[in-house]
Symmetry: C2
Subunit: 112 residues, 2 copies
């Protein structure tokens, strides 16, 4: 039995072999409420918007995600607004979504 995504270890030598096919990603994302794929300049990202009571609560989440990102040296894009954070995970170097990004997305949910 596979470990839950959020508890899996990141592959430190991430290469294209760890990038799921789009059809597999679609299946995986059905199990991850709120997460969807978004193309930015033709590059797929995992994206999710989280709701918060106000700006302070949103920014606090942004900082928790920042801490998580620094821990593993893999960094997302985080859009902080009043009562809302939109988080995007993808692998710049690989030009798309790696299994590591799915792990980071699942871990992010544990900090919301």
């Amino acid at each position: 039995m596979q470990q839950p995504l959020a508890e899996q270890t990141l592959d430190s030598k991430a290469d294209k072999s760890g990038m799921p096919a789009e059809s597999d990603l679609a299946i995986q994302l059905k199990e991850m409420p709120g997460w969807h794929l978004r193309l930015v300049d033709g590059i797929a990202r995992l994206e999710k918007s989280y709701a918060f009571a106000d700006f302070t609560a949103a920014l606090a989440f942004t900082n928790r995600i920042g801490g998580l990102a620094d821990e593993v040296d893999h960094h997302p894009a985080i859009l902080t607004e009043y009562g809302k954070v939109t988080l995007s995970w993808w692998s710049h170097g690989l030009g798309g979504v790696h299994h590591n990004d799915l792990i980071m997305a699942a871990r992010s949910d544990t900090l919301a």
Copy 2:
């Protein structure tokens, strides 16, 4: 002589009378390096991207902007990425850019 933008006091009763015409905004923005107008869903925002050494430095700026926003209870959108912050000021309630947003943009530059 007018006070520098960054030192002006926000108009706490901001209404449409304080929204500069697009031609006046264009003239004002020529004096504000890096700031430009961007339309999002038909609503004009002031936007600027700032470069930083890494994610930590970018997130630190995001937090300084967050502090500034809370001080005056006017909140921007802040996109934090590795080595880069994209900041947007506009007045949600008024559906565009108010003179207050120009003041906040100028104050933001003092925190970069």
